[in-house]
Amino acid sequence: KLKLNKFKMLPVTVEFSGGAELLCGNVKKHDVDLPGQQNKWQIRNLLVWIKDNLIQERPELFLLGDTVRPGILVLINDADWELMGELDYELQEKDRIVFISTLHGG
């Protein structure tokens, strides 16, 4: 029997670059529908969802505790997440969240 979710799904785009995409089967761009839920989706929930649904290997290179590991820059619609409330930011429809592993080569 189908279990219907009475809350609306939330479509967002999740992108990985700078090498972080290698943790997700080398796929850079993911258009995803986050399952509907009673509370607003915050970045802190998204991180867990990504770990469970997109990360295919070595999750410790993505998450450290409840936040991203040092050296990953998070962008919310092309702005540093620190300008947007970091973990507390409430996701909106069509938001684009980017996880960039900083490069050090030259």
């Binding site: 670059s17 080569g105 030259g106």
Partner: protein, 283 residues
């Protein structure tokens, strides 16, 4: 009306004529450029294009720091070196190539590894610093030294098909530590030896570093204070993103800094300042 030419020789005017006639640059920009000194740390894939375009434009003094010698595997991206210079000091090799293009620039090759002991003494002699290095420890060292010496740091990096560029410690923008208070876990760090890189990617990022240094030096100002350029060569896209401002709580550039002299960066990062000796890692 091109403004005063007092400081430009007849040879200068001919050599730089194509940039002198730009109203946004002009004689004023050229004179400022010629009285500016730039230090490039790293004579590799980023340092080569950065050095040659700064030299061509007529920067006053150009210092180039690298402890390494030219290797055959450098030559697919490090375009100022030559096959017959394999084994020669990289900083010297860059200076030799730039000198042939423009001998009016004062060149200072430093064949040494930048360290907590020597960094401040060198950096203090320059107006603008370019981070063209290839490892995390030197990037933190260079950041802290630039904060302590109050110099803008034009930072570039490249790996595989991607490049990143920003300017740290300039005009209220963040420093490297504001953005990354903690170093990445060593097993998450990949360098060009392990990860590979398409040679022209550092070519483009290093050229952008030269451009931003020229804009700072000539008084135009940088477009990458508190902004970062992300380049993906596979799909040919550039993206410019907004960064946080300087953090008042930053331990080196904040209001009450706890780092007031250079520390041990190899220990801090858990990795050595070399792109050669690390084990293979995933990203």
């Amino acid at each position: 009306n091109l403004g005063p030419v007092a400081n430009l020789t007849k040879g200068d005017i001919e050599r730089y004529s194509r940039q002198l006639i730009l109203p946004e640059f002009g004689v004023k920009g050229q004179v400022k450029l010629q009285s500016t000194s730039v230090l490039i740390v790293g004579a590799g894939g980023l340092g080569c294009p950065a050095a040659v375009y700064l030299a061509a434009a007529g920067i006053g003094r150009l210092g180039v720091v690298d402890y390494d010698e030219v290797e055959l595997s450098n030559l697919h991206r490090q375009i100022l070196h030559t096959s017959d210079r394999v084994g020669l000091s990289k900083s010297l090799s860059i200076v030799r190539s730039c000198y042939r293009l423009n001998s009016n620039v004062e060149y200072v090759p430093y064949h040494l590894q930048l360290s907590s002991e020597n960094a401040l003494g060198i950096i203090k002699q320059y107006d603008i610093v370019l981070d063209a290095t290839d490892n995390v420890a030197t990037r933190y060292l260079l950041n802290d030294a630039c904060v302590l010496a109050q110099k803008p740091l034009v930072s570039g990096s490249a790996l595989r098909f991607e490049g990143q560029l920003t300017v740290y410690n300039n005009n209220g923008g963040p420093c490297y530590r504001c953005l990354f208070p903690q170093p990445p876990p060593p097993e998450s760090v990949t360098n060009c030896s392990e990860g590979g890189v398409i040679g022209v990617v550092p070519g483009i990022i290093g050229s952008m570093q030269a451009l931003e240094a020229i804009k700072i030096a000539s008084g135009i100002g940088s477009s990458y204070n508190q902004r970062m350029l992300l380049f993906d060569a596979l799909d040919g896209t550039f993206r410019s993103v907004k960064l946080r401002p300087r953090s008042p709580a930053c331990i080196v550039c904040g209001n009450d800094p706890s780092i007031t002299q250079l520390v041990d960066y190899v220990q801090f990062c858990g990795s050595a300042a070399s792109d050669k000796d690390q084990e293979l890692s995933v990203l």
